[in-house]
């Protein structure tokens, strides 16, 4: 009797709706669940990646180590959506943004409790793991 193969589909928990379930960087989800937003780094050449990835295109190695995104970054740009794609309607309105942390930039959402008038390009922001009411996980940018 062959045992049914377990599928590691942890990534289906990422975001309001995940379009990916299986990836070699599934540990990102466990770390997010523990409150940590992680990027990774190539052990061989030191190249830094966010979003994290399994393989380094620079030295072709697949030996990566995790690091936590800490410290503050600067808000590069953002937009507040008044329409949403299918599956995201209940989240409206929400803002997407890019924040520059120096070593890497991160794309994500701005925390929904920041008033619009407080959001300014160039403002200092941090990245925080976030649990959605549905149990799904994402990360948001908060005021530093």
């Amino acid at each position: 009797m062959s045992k049914k193969k377990e599928i590691d589909d942890r990534f289906k928990r990422f975001g309001t709706v995940s379009f990916t379930s299986v990836t070699k960087v599934n540990d990102f989800i466990d770390q997010l669940d523990q409150g940590k937003v992680m990027g990774n780094r190539c052990v061989e050449c030191g190249m830094v990646f966010f979003p994290p990835r399994a393989d380094c295109y620079k030295c072709l190695a697949s030996n990566m180590e995790w690091f936590e995104i800490k410290g503050t970054g600067k808000l590069v740009t953002y937009s507040k959506l008044k329409f949403a794609p299918v599956g995201f309607e209940d989240d409206l309105p929400y803002s997407i943004a890019v924040v520059d942390f120096g070593d890497c930039k991160i794309f994500g959402r701005i925390a929904s409790d920041i008033p619009d008038e407080d959001v300014q390009i160039g403002m200092a922001m941090k990245t925080a793991a976030n649990k959605l009411p549905s149990g799904q996980l994402n990360y948001v940018f908060t005021k530093a």
Binding site: T16, T77, S79, V98, F107, G108
Partner: protein
Amino acid sequence: MDRVAIIGVGQSAFVRGYPGSIRELAFEGFKEALEDAKISVSDIGASIVCSAPEYDKQRSPSGVFAEYLGLTPQPTFYLESLCSSTSMGLRMAYSLVKSGLHDVVAVLGFQKMSEISSAESQERMGRGADIQWESPFGTMMPAYYAMFAKAHMEKYGTTLEDMALVRVKSATYGQVNEKALFRKPVALESFSDPEHFMSGPVSSPLRVGDCCANADGSSCLIVASEEKARSFSQKPVWILGLGAASASVNMSGRDIFTGLAVARQAGEQAYKMAGIEPKDVDVAEVHDCFTISEILAYEDLGFAEPGEGKDLIKGKETYREGSIPVNVDGGLLSKGHPIGATGGSQIRTIVLELRGEAGEMQVKDPKIGLVHNIGGVGLYGTVSILGRE
């Protein structure tokens, strides 16, 4: 005798809810291009079918089109680079002809977007971005371009009114383009009237009037060797320069948000290959999927310095009578944007302009034209420079 020409162009009307199947839609652009080139199906050595596949139930449309259009047994294949598919098709056709593999190649672009709802369509378009790391946040095309608009406004003081002026210009020419979806004038005031649909918020700072609309449509280009062009065509339009580039899908990999790196890179390549400078361009078609996109294009292509794109539209320099007419066919904003057909439609307009056959859209005596066609949010970029004798 090794130049490559465009000897025939065609497009369907761009509409909402095309009352036919995709093969019938493709026939409309194809027929017009063949009649324009005055050639028959048997003259075509190969066909390239260009679209974004997620809108269709038909898998591998090339075979279906080849059968319906009588292009068998010649080779046919599919090419995709989102909204820039047909101009990437032109690049491929150029290389097929230049290499000597084929004398005459048809580039068929199409998209039938109306079979799915606008929200579903936005979701599919959003999946033209990074589905693993971005789409789970609820992304869509207007929101991405809105981030570029926001950054440009912040850095250069570009205003909502500057962007609205792009739409006003677009509508000026949409009215005289019989193939366009939107043929009504747009008043600048409609953007400041909260009751008017044009001012409705989509994704800040972009409003409804800042965004192009989905459409159904097809386009077709007939590309030929110099020898064939001479024998078939009275007015061949020569491909002088081609540029193409790509960028990081994920916004986290982008260095700038006040322009599109791919457009700058593709533009530089195309100018160099053609041996011209931006000031030599007499008429241009740029990828105005959003009003801000046209302003970015002015700057990325060197028609204006960074941050000064707004001055071109405010001074009406990009109107038909201006120093650098841009999108005098109404652009994507007025024509509508059937993804895979759009690049072919842009190229068609420039070919007609260079032949002096653009009717009410005609610019005075242009010799060199440029087409800027972008796929995704500056993910793929192509610039094509065309010229007459």
